[in-house]
């Protein structure tokens, strides 16, 4: 019970703080816009195939995540509030709060990317099987947030955070990336919902394994 209310209070604090400082939000939004604009320039008037488009979709999500998701831990570390947090909250409270906060961020980010894509690629980026797309975005965001949260906690303790974050995250996220790209292509090609079930199984399995492992290991990362 106290675990739950503490987690809830910490997420509220993070969201509040984010709304006041815009530490991550501005960076994320600008990154999304810049990346999509760059892709637009690169493709010019070519008609990209659905697999190219879904690949690029997740490339944008990946790099945007890499620019912003480590803030949750890095900002605590930089401001010297890590110990304050250690003093008032148990490691699992911190872990779940940060995981949920990152999930919210990732989810908002995928929605932003989706809206942008639907506007700028209005001909090519047509979601034919909405159920597959929704499932992929939700499960993919969960997996993304889960892996990036534990890596962010690790990176916050190191001294070359900026470059280290994508280096550590990419090998962990590659399975997830391949699966969501695969499933998104199916959504764009208008395949049956059932054809994406194996992908969803992988995504659920990935999220559960990653979150469970992180939960068990987080204490070692968090406490000095």
């Amino acid at each position: 019970m106290s675990q739950f209310s503490g987690t809830y209070a910490l997420i509220r604090k993070d969201i509040h703080s984010e709304l006041r400082t815009r530490y991550a939000l501005n960076a994320l939004l600008m990154f999304v816009v810049t990346a999509v604009a760059t892709i637009l320039f690169a493709l010019r008037s070519d008609q990209p195939t659905s697999s190219v488009l879904s690949g690029l979709y997740w490339v944008v999500v990946f790099f945007t995540a890499m620019s912003g998701l480590s803030r949750t831990f890095v900002s605590e570390e930089e401001r010297g509030t890590t110990m304050t947090l250690q003093l008032v909250a148990s490691p699992s409270t911190v872990y779940f709060a940060k995981l949920l906060f990152n999930t919210v961020l990732t989810f908002s980010m995928t929605i932003a990317v989706t809206i942008l894509y639907m506007t700028v690629f209005s001909n090519a980026f047509v979601i034919k099987t909405f159920s597959i797309f929704a499932g992929t975005v939700v499960l993919g965001s969960l997996g993304f947030a889960s892996a990036s949260t534990i890596i962010a906690a690790i990176v916050a303790k190191a001294n070359t955070r900026g470059t280290l974050y994508p280096v550590l995250s990419f090998p962990i996220l590659i399975v997830l990336l391949m699966t969501v790209m695969n499933a998104t292509t199916k959504a764009l090609d208008g395949e049956e919902f059932t054809s994406a079930l194996p992908d969803f199984q992988i995504l659920v399995g990935y999220f559960l394994a990653m979150t469970g492992g992180s939960y068990l290991l987080f204490e070692y990362v968090w406490k000095d």
């Binding site: 209310s5 509040h16 304050t84 008032v88």
Partner: protein, 204 residues
């Protein structure tokens, strides 16, 4: 609270070795030693923020052993490396940290009480970012005593404080000595004199 044979090493350099402390209700201890002798490190180990290389620290409240997960309800710490949130006001900081800890029975009345004790009630709704360093130190006291901890640890207790501030600290210290355990880490002989016992680090 008891610590037995606590040793801490960083990169194989021993900071202190085989420190044993035992403190119970109403007792107080000063930790002294020159700069870099490991006072703050020992404080972190005792506060459960850092694990000891060897040895262990145990706590008991009212004779019952205390689980490490519940330590946070019983410990208060003031120290230079503990920061509060810049983007929130003084009273917001107390409120949100208390909620994160899921304290029971801390209401706005209690928050007002501690803010008045440390003399920040008038400035309660200013962002901590705009506080002077002395005001920040005062706010740390408010945070440390908010939940009436049984173990209060003060590292460099009077840094950045004026006369009034030091008087405030003395009041907090006297209060704590009546109802709980107090540990002070300091270089100052006066401050060490507040405590009934003393250990000096770095004399090997």
């Amino acid at each position: 609270m008891t610590a037995t044979g606590v040793t801490k090493e960083f990169n194989r350099r021993t900071i202190f070795r085989d420190v044993s402390i035992s403190l119970s209700q109403g007792e107080s201890l000063a930790i002294t030693g020159r700069n870099g002798s490991g006072k703050s490190t020992l404080v972190k180990v005792v506060a459960g923020l850092l694990s000891a290389t060897r040895g262990k620290v145990e706590y008991a409240v009212d004779g019952k052993p205390l689980e490490i997960e519940n330590l946070r309800y019983h410990i208060g710490l003031v120290s230079p490396y503990l920061q509060l949130y810049d983007e929130f006001s003084g009273s917001e900081n107390l409120e949100l940290l208390s909620k994160i800890r899921s304290d029971v029975g801390i209401d706005s009345g209690r928050i007002q009480q501690v803010l008045e004790t440390v003399g920040l009630w008038e400035r309660r709704s200013d962002y901590v970012r705009t506080y002077s360093s002395g005001m920040k130190q005062r706010l740390k006291y408010a945070f440390a005593v908010l939940h009436r901890p049984s173990l209060l640890i003060l590292d460099e207790p009077t840094s950045n404080l004026d006369h009034d501030g030091i008087a405030m600290v003395k009041k907090v210290v006297d209060e704590q000595k009546k109802q709980g355990v107090l540990i002070v880490a300091t270089n100052d002989a006066d401050e060490a004199g507040w405590c009934s016992a003393n250990i000096e680090l770095g004399k090997h």
